[in-house]
């Protein structure tokens, strides 16, 4: 720990960042030394992303300072909101942030470099470096983004900031990443690892910093924390009026049978398997077949909660209010005109129920942190009258406390007779479902119910064929 004081890669001294009256970061002092993996945790809106943006230079601090004693080269960030250019290939995306790839003949070294980096971080990844990024699954895109972060790019990566890097990766791939991070730090690199999955933080971090309301509330070696201690340090941001855990759900008749899936009234059905094996596509097809391009049914049967927010969910020019109410406008309308009072009441009600952190619902949706945007999308779906709620990995980037709230809401709504179809990359979540379909190579490889739903069974069904072939 002596290197820590001597020569940190980055040192923040009393750094603050204000957006108008909003104090996103309120005086943070922090340093990261070579060879260190700093775990950064905190609730949605605690200031994690702002801190990252101060370090990588996107924002200048409002006050205080951000210093790089060893120079600013080699500081890399991998963002939670994927930031690749979708119309370019994997290799071309690397070359964008590579200062030496200029002039003729840059493609070959670009391909070689990204290939080498992918091979190092994710052995057996199977990603074609000439594939255009929008043809990749969300997990593959995240893998490419991480590999670009660790690629040499004409220098040496000295500090790599990983913001929710595993949120769309399945367990196996996430484990590969964690072991690469450990190896990278052992070789003298520094990593800032941001995650809501505390297991990962404990697996990889040498030191843990807890942010709360824009301030550091704890900064200790990882060994000094217990899991419960860490949760307590973050402090649970309780949504007002969270329902008590619901009673045992009464499961009724089959309400939908499509895509090989089957769901009953009041049932929470999970879709599992390795990321990118056809779960999201099956859910999207199912949703589209249940709704119309031409009619907005007053009683639409299904609603959709997007996980890939920029692509499938958020309407970026609009306020939080308008984003939340769009699916129920038709229902609450007065002769085709929007009932603004009803709209506002509904939004205020859901803001409290689901705990969206904003003072003013007319703020732009993009002013919210990723996890809070996700809450808006939840509210949009749950506020409708639809019986079937289709969820495409909706917990990406959502903090532990909110997850618990949302689980409770899901259970309560299921008890009222709604049906949930829930794809998740986290096995822990899938294990809470009443029935689980495991996908492998775009087909259902297993259907599990009740006591059959265990992590081992799911993993077994996900991998079987791969080992055989």
């Amino acid at each position: 720990m002596t290197v820590l004081e001597s020569n940190p890669v980055v040192a923040l001294r009393d750094a603050a960042k204000h957006f108008g009256p909003v104090k996103a970061l309120n005086g943070v002092s922090l340093s990261v030394a070579p060879g260190e993996c700093l775990g950064l945790v905190g609730h949605n809106g605690a200031g994690k992303s702002t801190l990252v943006n101060l370090i990588n230079g996107t924002f200048a601090p409002s006050s205080g300072e951000v210093a790089f004693p060893l120079g600013q080269q080699g500081v890399r960030s991998v963002f939670q909101e994927l930031s690749l250019c979708p119309n370019l290939t994997v290799a071309e995306n690397l070359s964008i942030s590579h200062p030496d790839l200029r002039g003729f003949g840059w493609r070959r070294p670009a391909r070689a470099e990204i290939q080498a980096s992918l091979d190092t971080v994710f052995p057996d990844h199977g990603i074609d470096t000439d594939a255009e990024v929008d043809r990749l699954t969300i997990a593959e895109r995240q893998m490419v983004e991480i590999a670009i972060g660790f690629a040499p790019r004409g220098g040496t990566p000295r500090l790599v900031i990983l913001d929710e890097p595993t949120s769309s990766l399945d367990e196996g791939i996430a484990r590969q990443l964690l072991s690469h991070v450990r190896a990278f730090c052992a070789a003298g690199g520094a990593v800032i690892f941001i995650s809501h999955m505390l297991g990962e933080i404990f697996a990889v971090a040498s030191r843990i910093v807890v942010l709360k309301d824009g301030k550091v509330v704890a900064d200790r070696p990882a060994a000094a924390f217990s899991r419960q201690g860490l949760v307590d340090a973050m402090g649970h941001v309780a949504a007002e009026g969270t329902q008590a855990a619901a009673a045992q759900t009464q499961i009724g008749e089959v309400v939908i049978r499509a895509e090989g899936l089957e769901a009953r009234r009041g049932e929470v059905v999970g879709l599992s398997g390795l990321a990118g094996h056809g779960q999201a596509a099956a859910l999207a097809r199912l949703y589209l077949s249940q709704t119309s391009d031409w009619r907005a049914g007053r009683g639409a049967r299904a609603v959709f909660v997007a996980g890939d927010r920029p692509r499938d969910g958020v309407l970026p020019l609009w306020s939080i209010l308008r984003n939340m109410s769009i699916s129920v406008l038709g229902r609450d309308a007065n002769g085709g005109m929007v009932d603004k009072d009803a709209e506002r009441r509904l939004a205020e009600d859901w803001r409290k129920r689901i705990g969206i952190r904003t003072d003013d619902l007319t703020n732009p949706i993009l002013s919210l942190s990723g996890g809070n945007q996700q809450k808006v999308l939840f509210a949009r779906a749950l506020a409708s009258d639809a019986d079937i709620i289709v969820m495409d990995d909706p917990m990406r980037g959502v903090d532990v406390g909110t997850k618990q709230d949302v689980y409770a809401i899901i259970r309560a709504e299921a008890a009222k007779g709604r049906t949930f179809l829930w794809y998740s990359t986290e096995t822990e979540e899938v294990c809470q479902c009443d029935r689980v379909f495991v996908f492998r190579n775009n087909e259902i490889s297993a259907e599990l119910t009740g006591a059959q739903i265990t992590e081992e069974k799911i993993l077994e069904a996900s991998f079987e064929m791969m080992e055989a072939s």
């Binding site: 709704t291 391009d293 639409a300 499938d312 969910g313 970026p316 020019l317």
Partner: protein
């Protein structure tokens, strides 16, 4: 710098108006205002339609506006045949023509999956041909009552300007207050997200392509009545005009954001620029170059200001 984007269009219009009057030292202000309001009204009507289409998002634009204006004007005047008392029959024919054109455009876009630019441009050749074939180049005069109405005024303001204003209010209400308007704005921001939020995106697109053609048809009918008969080239200048007023008026060319007052201001401005250059005695070539330069300058000024926010 928190002014709304439409302020710029109106300020530019006022500036062009004063610059023209400066030259004539204040004489003819009434005539200039009358002409600007009349011609601005036609640009405003087609501009409102184009704005709805552009709001649908990237790649959506209707290039068949000129042909639709010509066809509707021609068919309406032919049906009326200068007989007195047929004005309402004429309106019905014009609006029906607009609906038919809109349906044809949308069928090409939807069923054949053609890009809207190609579909509407190709279809406009057909509409233009039908217009030529239907009246064989004859210029039929509008009924006298209708011609008087189209060139007349009410409380000092041209009747056509009242019609444009009424339409603008309706469009503004639709966009700001109605469910349909919200659906249109949502579809323009992210069509996939809108569809996944339960919005009937195809129905919204269909209604929008029908509206733009109906607006163009109405403008064609009024313009033909105003100028004493339909001419085959009467819509030509409204192709660029309809897009320019949308952009200058502060609507986002990327979709999802529209601006009704801006379209009105920009329509006035476009006419005033031309008449300002006329009164300064500029030749046709110089006039085109300067008009183009002014449009580009305004678009750049507006977009740099917006990106700084």
């Amino acid at each position: 710098m928190t002014m709304k984007p439409w302020v710029w269009a109106w300020a530019a219009a006022a500036l062009a108006f004063s610059a023209t009057l400066l030259l004539t030292s204040g004489r003819g202000a009434g005539e200039l205002a009358y002409a600007a309001l009349s011609f601005g009204a036609f640009a405003a009507i087609v501009g409102l339609g184009q704005m709805l289409v552009i709001t649908l998002g990237p790649g959506n634009v209707d290039l068949s506006i000129p042909a639709c204006m010509t066809l509707a004007g021609t068919l309406a005047l032919k049906t009326m045949g200068t007989e007195p008392g047929t004005a309402f029959v004429g309106v019905a024919v014009a609006l029906a023509t607009g609906l038919a054109v809109g349906c044809a455009n949308f069928v090409l876009i939807w069923l054949l999956r053609l890009p809207p630019i190609i579909a509407t441009l190709a279809a406009s050749l057909v509409y233009q041909s039908v217009a030529i074939w239907s009246n064989r180049g004859l210029r039929i005069k509008p009924p006298e009552g209708l011609a008087n109405f189209a060139t007349g005024r009410f409380i000092g303001v041209p009747n056509v300007a009242w019609i444009a204003l009424g339409l603008a209010v309706v469009v503004w209400l639709l966009l700001e207050r109605s469910v349909w308007g919200r659906w249109l704005l949502a579809s323009g921001q992210n069509a996939r997200a809108a569809r996944l939020a339960g919005i009937p995106v195809q129905a919204v697109r269909a209604a929008t392509y029908l509206s733009v053609s109906v607006f163009a048809a109405l403008a064609g009918y009024l313009l033909a009545s105003f100028s004493g008969g339909a001419a085959l080239n009467m819509g030509t200048e409204y192709l660029l005009m309809s897009i320019a007023v949308v952009v200058i008026g502060g609507s986002s060319i990327a979709g999802g954001n529209s601006n009704v007052p801006g379209v009105l201001g920009a329509a006035l401005f476009m006419f005033l620029v031309v008449s300002m250059l006329n009164s300064y005695g500029a030749g046709a070539g110089i006039k085109s170059v300067l008009t183009g330069t002014i449009i580009i300058a305004i678009v750049i000024a507006a977009s740099t200001r917006r990106s700084r926010q």
